[in-house]
Symmetry: C2
DNA sequence: CCACCGCCTTGATAAGCATCAATCCGGCGC
DNA sequence: GCGCCGGATTGATGCTTATCAAGGCGGTGG
């Protein structure tokens, strides 16, 4: 136990921004009792495309990537999920197999909540369903936006776009007050995130560097002039 | 009134497959009282991208296309909605402006249900929310699939794909037992539906004709060998 | 009938992108 | 150190697609 805090759902900071804040104390106690927290390494999967849905996964720390594959080995990152987010809920609500794979991109702690418990909580507390409804609507809106960008904008534009999105989520200012972003992704995952090949990603990174928008050193990105970058983006 | 049937929500055949089947008789009576049915011509819009959400639209007959535009005139058809479907619910649930435009592609009758009524019904009947949750999950799944196809498959494959989807929905067999599909869309809308230009659509139609998959005569498509067509599709 | 207009097609051209292949780089184990 | 391996880059090539431009085709209204 030494050095390993026992985190209850009550004390879980991320819960407040998530679906589970709809629960009352009794329901939360149930959730706390049955949840199965587990530390997971980067690269491991929470569930795999085509597998039946065993339950939900609530991310406490770390980063999860939602992937979609096809028979010929094409792979795409549909979205990134961070602390507080619950993944796997669509297959659960659909009552069918997972259409995607959830993979740990950064190590972290994830709680598993079995199907039966979720079903019990959902029937007992209608507000929980409404929270999932909110989540699903946001997901759908985001996917629509990504589809639109995917079929209308070239790779360079999508790259600049995703850089801004990642900056808002993972970026900050360095000691000199300059914008810095530590990418939580490999180049090939970055490519998969905007739906292109690693080679095209590499070339376009070089291109936006030549254009002076950003400097890439490994996984750290320095953005010299954020305003200039944003002016080059299409109105979103 | 002659020749114009007064359709109540009770008698509405399409309701049974839609969100509103969650309502009891009293709630249905309320819906029937406040709903505003209206015949709409092709080309008119139910709501426009950027406009505030006034309420929901329940399609009785006809076909509605959900469009997304950007400042530079790019247009994409995100999805087609037919009889029984309710559109505009995402903006309503998000409590913000519409992110898309809903346009009549075929003429038909659409009922408008104002915001206040929907909100009242939603708080009163938790099952209604769960129905919308189902709808939203299906939308999100479909959009994920479309995004994946959009960034991984070339136009020809996406065309064959959409032809099969449209065939399942609008197709049938002619007198000789051959598969026929009457397209409810212009060529440019067909192009917008798979995220390409009208020129590329035209060329790829010619190509699948040369390959013998289908024959296009105006908006009617004759598919000689459906099995051969399906074998050429990537495993979905 | 003719002019007009939108939709569709076709052609020519250039840009974007995937693919294959070779190379380079950094980390890790031996 | 040395070899190995996966990720990343770079180059060469060809396919795919967008774009611009021109022309056809089918309506509708004068």
């Amino acid at each position: 136990m030494a050095g390993k805090t026992r985190v209850t759902c009550f004390g879980c900071q991320t819960r407040r921004t998530a679906e589970w804040c709809a629960l009352d104390d009794a329901e939360l106690a149930l959730l706390d009792r049955v949840k199965q927290p587990r530390e997971r390494e980067a690269g491991t999967t929470l569930f795999d495309q085509g597998a039946p849905c065993a339950g939900l996964y609530c991310i406490q720390t770390g980063l999860v990537g939602i992937r979609k594959l096809d028979a010929r080995g094409n792979s795409t990152l549909l979205r990134l999920c961070g602390a507080g987010e619950t993944v796997g809920y669509r297959a659960f609500l659909r009552k069918s197999d997972h259409l995607t794979t959830a993979e740990m991109l950064l190590p972290g702690r994830v709680c598993f909540i079995d199907r039966a418990t979720v079903r019990a909580l959902l029937t007992q507390n209608p507000n929980l369903g409404l929270r999932f409804l909110d989540h699903s609507v946001r997901d759908a809106d985001e996917l629509a936006q990504r589809y639109f960008e995917g079929v209308t904008f070239p790779v360079r534009t999508r790259l600049l776009n995703v850089l801004m999105v990642l900056y808002e989520r993972f970026g900050g200012l360095d000691a000199d007050g300059r914008a810095v972003l530590e990418l939580p992704l490999s180049r090939q995952d970055l490519a998969a995130l905007i739906g292109t090949s690693p080679e095209s990603m590499s070339r376009n990174i070089g291109r936006v560097q030549d254009e002076g928008f950003a400097r890439f050193e490994g996984r750290t990105v320095r953005i010299d002039d954020i305003d200039a970058l944003m002016r080059h983006l299409p109105a979103s």
